[in-house]
Amino acid sequence: MRRIFITVIGLFLLGNSIVAQDSKPGKTQFMVRGYGHAGLDYYKTPDGKDISFVGAAFSPIFLFKQGNRFMFETELEFELQKNELEIGLEYANLMYVINKYLMVRAGKFLLPFGTFMERLHPAWINRLSTKPLGFGHDGISPASDIGIEFRGAAPIGGTHINYSVYVTNGPRLKDGSEEPDEAGMLNFQNYIDNNNNKFVGARIGYLPLYNSSLELGLSFYTGKVGDQGSVYEDVRAFLWAADFSFVKQISPIKGILDIKAQYNQTNVSDAYYPVVEEARDSANLFTFNNLSRAYYAQLSYRPSMAGKTFLKNLEIIGRYSKLKTPEGSNWGSDVSELTFGLNYWISWRQVIKINYAFINSEGGPDAEEGPQTQKSNSLFVHWAIGL
């Protein structure tokens, strides 16, 4: 663990020293970017209160550029989880520019399934301290996968269109043999292909206004998810997402209005799973309509045209998000979250966020004796920086 950390620090220093000494740069360029955050979290639930300093999270991004067409990029994640340092590989992919309208990526890459996980999740970009419900590594939709992707963008008159088509190993269906409570869930962090079927996905985005302030996007991702040779080998999943973004500085309101929204839906075809207590007893199987939905809508306003610097750096945010997982499954739940935030931007890439969230949840893995409704509140004070 220590060796890995020292290696990362070494690469970071090397990257910076190369840049510092570079009076006449060559074709090979190396750069370290990334982000980090730290803060204080407070949770109030029916079970009690919990307040704790969190963070010490560090996500370095290494960019290796060779010439004007080739780049290798990778992002690591260092985070303290339950007194242990966890290290993750967020992405590691090669990228080559084929022509003005097309580039290819191969390796592990962030999937353009909607825009949140690919573009908006880093702590210094995400306006709030948390991700919307159902988004992220434990969400109902993918964040990254291993495969190959073709992507690009093109002007169409005064407007723009962007596109992406990709093939990946795809997620794996949890059949309940390892974790009976999660039978029917998709494991998106399954990077070894569990069958010979590849997932196919695409996103198309359209910016209809000449100032690029509005973007509308549609995505899908589909394939087989069951283990090869198992009774689940023909089980398929179909996921789709719609995303919306409008960002513009508007003079009459003397500031920047930022509206973002995304809707994700995950549908897994019918399958029979073992009842929890009677695992692997074919006489005790159950099924359910395996449909999950998650969405969020976020509005933020920053008075960027105000006279005073202090006011210019403030930003107010409101976000509503909802996650609904299948009724009849062991993990069925209906959770909604309303979050308000007040941010202060120290610089263009450094922010202090104060957020308060109201969460209503019904069901979940612990609701074996019928639906349970829980209300909880959370306060987050986070400091995030882009490097």
């Binding site: 309208y101 970009i125 359209y206 000449y210 973004s245």
Partner: protein, 90 residues
């Protein structure tokens, strides 16, 4: 399969609307004449705050430009103008 066809149909509809709405010559000319500064102000803000030009060196902006072309799915023309602007304004 029906759902895939539906998604592709919707995508084609979006593309058709794009082509129709972009037929306005005036809008096309305005977009083509945009400076790097305009593109920097209008595009970076779609995801994060507008970056300050002095934050990085000329060489670093080139590397970031390629990274952002891919991440934000921008056109080569847009990113070239933005990088050129940042390299003159830093």
């Amino acid at each position: 399969m029906k759902k895939i066809i539906l998604i592709f149909t919707l995508s084609l509809a979006v593309a058709a609307i794009a082509i129709i709405s972009s037929s306005c010559t005036a809008q096309r000319e305005i977009a083509a004449q945009k400076s790097g500064a305009e593109l920097w102000a209008q595009n970076c803000i779609r995801c994060h705050n507008i970056p300050s030009p002095p934050s990085y060196t000329d060489v670093q902006w080139e590397t970031i430009g390629l990274h952002m072309r891919e991440r934000a799915n921008m056109t080569s023309g847009q990113i070239k103008k933005i990088v050129a602007f940042l390299q003159t304004a830093n």
